[in-house]
């Protein structure tokens, strides 16, 4: 568990977190506009910037009135926004720097390293000076280095901003695994709502140096005004039980309903997270035929939420009580005469589902 209350100020910028408690594992997304204090948060938490206040990780005090544990004793795996590689060393040198101080046994070094080198595709770069790396290469080395340092907590400052989607797509599940496997709390700074929705367990919303909100991803997503929705509109995240695969579609059980999605990569029996964009959900009064849309689910209208630009957000309830957003035009709503309480069909194209 990471608990803190920090104050710091720069000329023209005032930073105050108030009391914050983050759970001992899982991923906390730190979300907010440019200049809101995201980097400041992890700098002060890590002790790189000396702030007022206190910080405790798993009940061990890092900072209090009397005490200030130096950065190097906090065992933080930090990925810096600008990579912050050691410029006098090669890629291998940077990784070794982390490994040597990781506490991993020497015999393990090779295995640890190979795992991330392969995933982050650094194999060809090991002997290259970090000064000559491309933007994305730098970022990948930064990520590998942080993971190799055997940290108690990870703090990632926009770790994927310079990465192409392919690397990103491979990295995201791995970060998740790391967090789960090692019970490692992770602070993830990102501008991308998609990254938040795919990765986060809770969301810490920062604005102008203040913690505006700390809530679970579910909670954030159930608020139609969530800042996460600013980019792509509302999103629902449904939790379901994976079932079998047939005809190239994976069955996901949501109470009595079945959702068909792209086969999951890692098909174990654990519940999975299904992210559905509200704009990908269409509504029909009756169960339509002759339609390419695979998923038709009976739902009940909970609420109609007016949105700017003549749009309407419809909060729907599945029979297992999970909620689902649909974004439609007000015109359509009038045409279909939608009202709260009405039972209708939600249509979700299977291909619109993403783990």
């Amino acid at each position: 568990m990471l608990e803190f209350n920090l104050q710091h100020s720069y000329p023209g910028f005032d930073f105050q977190t108030g009391d914050v408690q983050l759970p001992g594992d899982g991923i906390t997304a730190v979300f907010g506009p440019s200049g809101c204090g995201k980097t400041t948060l992890i700098k002060t938490l890590s002790g790189l910037e000396k702030a007022q206040g206190w910080v405790k990780l798993n009940n061990q005090a890092w900072q209090s009135d009397k005490l200030f544990l130096p950065v190097h004793q906090r065992r933080i795996g930090m990925v810096f926004q600008d990579a912050a590689l050691l410029p006098h060393l090669s890629v291998q040198g940077n990784l070794d720097y982390a490994l040597k101080r990781s506490g991993f046994e020497r015999a393990q070094h090779r295995a640890q390293q190979d795992r991330w080198i392969e995933l982050l595709n650094l194999g060809n770069l090991l002997n290259q000076s970090v000064l000559t790396l491309s933007g994305g290469q730098k970022q990948r080395v930064g990520i590998a280095r942080a993971l190799l340092s055997n940290p108690q907590i990870l703090m990632l400052d926009e770790p994927m901003s310079a990465l192409d989607w392919r690397t990103k797509n491979e990295l995201i599940p791995l970060i998740k695994d790391v967090s789960k496997a090692s019970k490692l709390p992770i602070l993830l700074i990102t501008h991308s709502p998609e990254e938040v929705e795919r990765l986060a367990d809770q969301v810490l919303l920062l604005n102008q140096g203040r913690v505006e909100q700390l809530e679970s991803l579910q909670q954030t997503l159930s608020r139609p005004d969530s800042p996460l929705f600013d980019e792509q509109g509302a999103v629902s995240v449904l939790i379901g039980q994976p079932g079998k695969v047939s005809d190239g579609l994976q069955q996901i059980q949501l109470g009595d309903n079945t959702l068909w999605v792209k086969p999951l990569k890692r098909a174990n029996q654990e519940p999975v997270r299904i992210r559905v964009l509200a704009r990908d959900v269409s509504l029909a009064l009756s169960d339509p035929k002759d339609l390419s849309i695979v998923n038709h689910m009976p739902v009940k209208i909970d609420e109609l939420i007016e949105q700017p630009d003549h749009r309407l957000l419809v909060r729907l309830r599945l029979d297992n009580q999970q909620h689902l957003f649909a974004e439609i035009t007000q015109q359509s709503a009038q045409r279909l005469n939608l009202q709260p309480g009405l039972v209708i069909y939600a249509l979700i194209k299977s291909v619109a589902l993403a783990e």
Binding site: H72, G77, D82, L85, L86, P87, H88, S102, L131, R145
Partner: protein
């Protein structure tokens, strides 16, 4: 052997050369080891006194070396503040001793060592140091594995200048050293004595030997530096 024959070096000169390089070596080591913390403080302090301390440190340069040597002679000699105290404690005073000229050389080259190291520290990027801390490197570890490599340009300059400057140091040593063979008679004094004695051939010969040796040492210094700085250049 042929080389030696050609330059026909006398045992006394060999002794003077040895003494000179020993002096330069010790001076440089002392300046780097003890100067680095001071340089660090100057580079990062927020203190208002920083400019004054900096100016103060540069002052040994401003006094003519002979005059500086003269004052050191007075202070380190048996009637001076330092030398007197030492005699009172049953020790020898410091004038006319190797320790004495070492102290003189250290003071004289102090600004040459401090200023570049300080500049080296001030112009380091901070980010890698922060990164090293998050990777678990403590202050000492960081100093040797990150700070020193990043600031090594400054250290290199400090080393080269202090070393070379001490090789050629004359005024201070002439005043407070007293030309004692094997103790304070360094090459610069020996060459000067030759010129004063109008033994120009010997002066040229000894100068040439000093220059060639120094040149070789410096060239190796620079070549090493070139080699190690390369990864930082882009």
């Amino acid at each position: 052997m042929e080389f030696m024959d050609f330059f026909a070096i006398t045992p006394a000169e060999l002794q003077a050369l040895w003494l000179t390089f020993k002096l330069a070596f010790y001076t440089t080591v002392i300046l780097v080891v003890f100067g680095a913390p001071l340089a660090w403080w100057l580079a990062f302090t927020e203190s208002r006194w920083e400019s004054l301390v900096s100016a103060l440190i540069a002052l040994p340069l401003v006094l003519p070396p002979t005059v500086l040597g003269f004052y050191l002679l007075i202070i380190l000699g048996p009637y001076g503040w330092v030398g007197g105290t030492m005699e009172a404690m049953g020790l020898d005073h410091l004038a006319f001793s190797f320790t004495g000229i070492l102290i003189g050389s250290v003071i004289f080259s102090l600004p040459f060592a401090i200023q570049p190291m300080r500049e080296g520290f001030a112009s380091m990027p901070r980010n890698p140091i922060h990164a090293a801390a998050t990777l678990g490197a403590g202050p000492i570890d960081r100093f040797f594995t990150v700070i020193l490599p990043l600031a090594r340009g400054g250290f290199f300059t400090a080393i080269v200048i202090s070393f070379a400057h001490t090789l050629g140091e004359f005024g201070v040593i002439a005043m407070m050293g007293g030309s004692i063979p094997g103790e304070t008679k360094v090459v610069s004094i020996a060459i000067y004595d030759y010129t004063q004695g109008m033994d120009y051939a010997a002066a040229h010969r000894l100068s040439a030997i000093l220059l060639i040796l120094s040149f070789l040492i410096l060239a190796v210094f620079y070549a090493l530096n070139r080699r190690f700085m390369a990864p930082l250049k882009l």
